[in-house]
Symmetry: C2
Subunit: 352 residues, 2 copies
């Protein structure tokens, strides 16, 4: 059995779970590499993956004997089979944050489960700590993101639209990776004041401010980086805001390390912003992995510790509605004694 | 209040629901045009949309006074507010097929709801019947899909890869629509034997068979069309299979009308395939609207009637593993006395 499944089986034992139903396809991919539609059952003795005719061939080509996963075609699973999977299991876990209420009721009925219990994101928590291969995939995605950003700086010319720039980024990624990890944000002028701007037909002008938030996937693993930069010159009124965001991004990078508290990290930035008359309107960061947003979350509501081999973003931003906004974001790997920024593009004033 | 919300309020009255929590963003878009992250509450007297700072501006710009929707910033909603929304409501409905088990429990706690009841897809069922504006959007998406297909037939040359062709389709759509309604399938040679093939680096060859399954979105509404066609000539061994699929696609188109039973429609095709030694391995069709796959489903498990102003696909296919596959699919609007194919590309042998 692979190390991730073995880890999960140990965790199940410690939680007194004799069975587990895994429905979230991201968690299934994480545990098995399978990318299909189906369900993974950990029963007392077996690991079972049930899928349909469309995916059977693909699933068999993904798995090796070493995985110890039995694959069923859903059309070959009888009512009795379902009822037998968790026979003699006292407690069977399920993913209450993924499974709908309707499915929850269906599971109880179909598998005849006495005690279907919540598992409080056990797999998502496991996913927070990345192994070497996972970090290496994220690192590659970040490297390509740095290269793409440096290419796009040379590509952008006044007169181009935000959409055109976003398309160019997508093409760049498509030729080199599994594609975008999220819809690219290209915002210019006052559009930068929207944290989640969608690229428009607005044309880049001389003396514009531009924010690009971009990322790609390598073997399913994401990168995430934002830079705010300038056409021709840095306007004097923007400099103090840019400097404040950068100062906080750098300070936070110093503080991102094993043991750091996510709430305190956020409060630190929030306080410094408030002292200067600004607000922190979104989270300071989020985990990055098979999903672009995953645990741990770095915001004032989340009270967890950063741990070695977590990968999280550090992305303070200030937004002045109708005027402009500045965000600087890196994807960062946490180590025992500090952190390593996996995205490495320039953070001092960038002028094109 | 708009007609869709009014319809829903009447439905609630008939189901003895005094309140309703709508969480599915597609349903929220359908009812309100809002495209954001948030939740729609229908209370005894008010329609309330709760969102966060990122979307407030956008939501206000979408809504008019006529909508009669009160918008809240989630940060301004107190614990008391939540408990008051459904005060004196005996039964509050929720979307059990969208809401996770964890959210279900949170709703009960947060809104202090006595009786949180399942609503059996009331909004999805309403969405099955399209109004004029919705059909007109789908019609536009289908027209552009026909044009794109005819362009792509002239574009394809031996030596191009499946991925390259899929990219060209995406670019075509991007310039004219809201984008793809699903990831384009371009399968060639023996890859056509996989119903859900993903475009590969395989190069188009002389005498190849090619299947393209494609669609785009106009104002959020989807189109969906598949054609199987040939390079240079139609191989003799493929002709009988193609003819059988086409015959069934045409016969089904005759039968798609108000009152037709989805299970019987499917059985009809299945039987004819079996008589000829083949299987129908996937559904015969599915509803098309704001989602590319939505109710009603046309397969042997679904026992519903087609109704006037439903829009559904008609897509019989035969797949011979390791050899080749043929699928022919149109997006179809049901009328009182028959149906109208909204995609109109050629269905007899296409040779490029």
């Amino acid at each position: 059995m692979n190390a991730k499944l073995q880890w999960l089986r140990n965790k199940m034992a410690s939680l007194d779970l004799q069975g587990l139903i895994i429905s979230n396809p991201v968690n299934i991919r994480y545990l098995t590499n399978i990318q299909a539609e189906g369900i993974l059952l950990l029963t007392r003795k077996e690991n079972i993956y049930i899928t349909d005719a469309r995916y059977i061939e693909h699933v068999h080509s993904t798995l090796t004997l070493f995985d110890e996963i039995i694959v069923y075609d859903i059309n070959d699973v009888s009512r009795d089979d379902y009822e037998n999977f968790f026979l003699f299991c006292e407690n069977v876990g399920f993913e209450e944050n993924y499974v709908t209420y309707a499915k929850y009721k269906e599971y109880i009925r179909k598998y005849k489960i006495n005690n279907l219990v919540e598992t409080e994101n056990i797999i998502e928590k496991q996913r927070m700590i990345k192994d070497e291969e996972e970090i290496s995939n994220i690192q590659k995605a970040c490297e390509i993101t740095d290269n793409c950003f440096s290419y796009i700086l040379s590509y952008i010319k006044p007169g181009m639209t935000e959409k055109q720039i976003a398309d160019e980024i997508e093409q760049y990624y498509k030729q080199r990776t599994d594609g975008l990890s999220f819809d690219t944000i290209v915002a210019s002028g006052e559009n930068t004041s929207k944290p989640h701007a969608v690229p428009t037909e607005r044309k880049i002008q001389e003396k514009d401010i531009i924010t690009i938030d971009m990322g790609c996937k390598v073997n399913g693993y994401c990168s995430d980086m934002t830079r705010t930069f300038f056409v021709g010159e840095v306007p004097e009124n923007i400099k103090p805001v840019y400097d404040l965001v950068l100062k906080n991004q750098l300070q936070t990078t110093e503080e991102y390390k094993d043991g750091a508290n996510t709430r305190l990290l956020t409060k630190m930035v929030e306080n410094d912003f408030k002292l200067n008359g600004y607000d922190l309107v979104h989270a300071l960061g989020h985990g990055v992995g098979l999903e672009i947003h995953e645990a741990p979350y770095v915001n004032y509501k989340s009270d967890t510790q950063l741990r070695e081999n977590m990968v999280v973003t550090n992305e303070p931003g200030i937004y002045l509605p109708g005027k402009f906004g500045v965000r600087i974001e890196d994807t960062i790997a946490i180590t025992k004694f500090g952190c390593i920024s996996l995205t490495k593009s320039e953070k001092n004033y960038i002028v094109i």
